[in-house]
């Protein structure tokens, strides 16, 4: 009887998750080139082998890792600062809290186009500011240099998603009973000590949630990169999702594209499980 209650949920998961994944898995074991629709032989793990043997796959994984680690780390630090700022009882807090969210509310495609213009070598704000401040001696072509392009993409992502991290951390901060701080103050712990021994440990669960969501999101980054650089210059910002898109919609290599999708899914599952495991471990230790 109990099993019956979970049937609708299971059915839903089956329909919207297991079925498509199953089909992708099936496709990934065949050579499906849409240009030759009548030949779709079973090739076993060939699509996976080709991917894992190609430099392009590993380069994309490397770019994705750099992007994920870079953006998530900076977002966590800035997001924490921002959360602490808007948590305080200051004048205009309501307005500030709303204003902080604006970048996050913008559709990614819009903010990416915006950043595309900011990075423009002639008319861009980035060059204008840095030249005026004397940081740069001559304008840079931010998206035309493999080393700079990835950094530029990370900065754009940080601008957009720091508010999201701040929001999650803010809810964490607000869940802490002020009495805890009063008690700590009575015991002589205030300021930096209270932050180190109270705020941080109490925020740990929120941080883990923020980190997990952001890592999974950043790992699958697509629209930002696609609008800014299309994976260029010279493939230097091609991430795993951009590669999957390329295989599917440009190359029409559905088999390899499906294999790529499965690999991304597996990586995402690993990241998610890793975080959950770390969180449980941290809780158990605490």
């Amino acid at each position: 009887m109990r099993a019956l209650y979970s049937a609708p949920a299971l059915g839903l998961v089956g329909a919207v998750f297991l079925l498509p994944v199953g089909q992708a898995l099936w496709t990934s074991l065949h050579r499906v080139w849409r240009q030759v629709p009548h030949e779709t032989p079973f090739v076993g793990l060939e699509n996976y082998r080709l991917l894992l043997a190609s430099d392009r796959f590993w380069a994309a994984l490397g770019h994705t890792t750099v992007f994920t680690a870079g953006s998530v780390a900076v977002e966590l630090v800035l997001g924490l600062g921002l959360a602490l700022l808007v948590h305080r009882k200051i004048r205009g807090r309501g307005v500030l809290r709303a204003a902080v969210l604006i970048p996050w509310v913008l559709p990614t495609v819009v903010s990416s186009l915006l950043w595309g213009w900011i990075y423009h070598d002639r008319y861009g704000l980035a060059n204008h500011l840095l030249l005026t401040l004397g940081v740069l001696a001559e304008p840079r072509v931010w998206l035309g240099d493999p080393a700079l392009a990835m950094a530029a993409a990370i900065v754009a992502d940080v601008w957009k998603t720091t508010p999201y991290v701040a929001l999650i951390l803010l809810t964490g901060l607000q869940a802490v009973d002020p009495i805890v701080y009063e008690a700590a103050a009575l015991d002589g712990a205030a300021g930096a000590r209270a932050f180190r021994h109270l705020t941080l440990p109490l925020l740990l669960p929120s941080m883990a949630v923020a980190l997990m969501f952001r890592t999974l999101d950043a790992f699958r980054v697509f629209d930002l990169i696609y609008v800014l650089t299309r994976g260029g210059p010279g493939g230097s910002t091609e991430t795993v999702s951009v590669l999957a898109y390329q295989l599917l919609f440009q190359d029409l290599d559905f088999g390899r594209g499906a294999a790529m999708g499965i690999l991304i899914l597996a990586a995402g599952a690993m990241i998610g499980t890793g975080y959950l495991w770390a969180l449980r471990f941290a809780r158990g230790a605490g």
Binding site: H120, D121, G144, D145, R230, G234, S236, F249, Q250
Partner: protein, 408 residues
Amino acid sequence: MRRIGCCLLVAGLLAGLHGWARAESVTLAQFRQRDQQVENRLLKEFEAATGIRVEQRIMPASSDLQHQQYVTWLAGRDRSVDVYLIDLIWVAEFASAGWILPLDDRLPATARGDFLPAPLASAVYKGKLYAVPRFTESGLLYYRKDLIPTAPATWEELRGLAQAKRGGGVAGYVFQGKQYEGLVVNFLELLWSAGGEVLGPDGRILLNGPAGVVALTYLVELVGSGTAPRGVITYMERESLQEFLEGRALFHRNWSYAWSLVHREGSKVRGKVGVAPLPSWDGRRPGAAALGGWHLAISAYSERQDAAWRLIRFLTDARAQKAKAIGEGRLPTLASLYADPAVLEANPHFAALRQGLAHARHRPITPFYPRLSAVLQTSLSRALVGSSSPQEALDSAAREIATFVPRE
């Protein structure tokens, strides 16, 4: 009992209505036209003349996004779109996938006489016609005739002039260098003019031969020496044209449509611009320009193929093309319109552009072109930013292309 009868009657009526509505309408997927009013007027005329309603599906402006949307629909056997406006580089791919219908019975070879040969040839795959050219484009050289008296005859001459006369905030040569289809087009034009090819007639890959290497080296050196501003590595058509319109470049490669933008009121370079065919490599062989343009094709999953064909015929006949040429400055695909006084009065430059079209070449016709281009985009971009030498870049592209382009 009566109630059931009533229900059946209503259901029957609805089904009939549904069938009637479907039979009498046809859906056209295309990007927003330059002047949508001109287009809407045309479609109204078609509806009035035939009684067939036309539903438009407006596509995103980016050609890649259109490709993605079309692929999603066609791979899913979508029956709701009957006519697709497609980039000519997709014809072979869509035809080979069985997504668009051959049109030889509907437009026999004898009825194709007035179509310009190059656009028409780009609609043919394996001897069969799969689409009808709606409008066309070709690559051209725009130059500042107030600063450069005559257009350079060779690419070497262009480089010399650009190098010598640039300065004071005016760059030498601005082209499209971002990692996308436009970069491939710019490279192919150089490759062809240097006598090279991407694929031989037997499917052999010739891309990384001597002509390919000199062509790519030329582009790399333009950027490396500052003759082309480094920013071109991030420019698509729009950004590069913007530089030229702002008066910040002596030479500029773009499609024929840029002509009307150069001469638009408010343009800073209005009256100061000359247009010429793309230069020759050695001064003996003529230069080569890439052919662009958009064709109309019938979806293989359309249930209203006859209505779809009538729409295509209407939109590609002389009357409709004339309206587009006069109203939107679109280059027609029919030879006779280049001698039409009304068309020439609205577009005096068409006579000159026709010359460019005569030498325009289509990009390799293979079902794998978009895939081949994607490989080239990355490799060419890698050479432009200096991550690999021209020879290495082309060798690795050739190796990759060999894994999917079939040898005959």
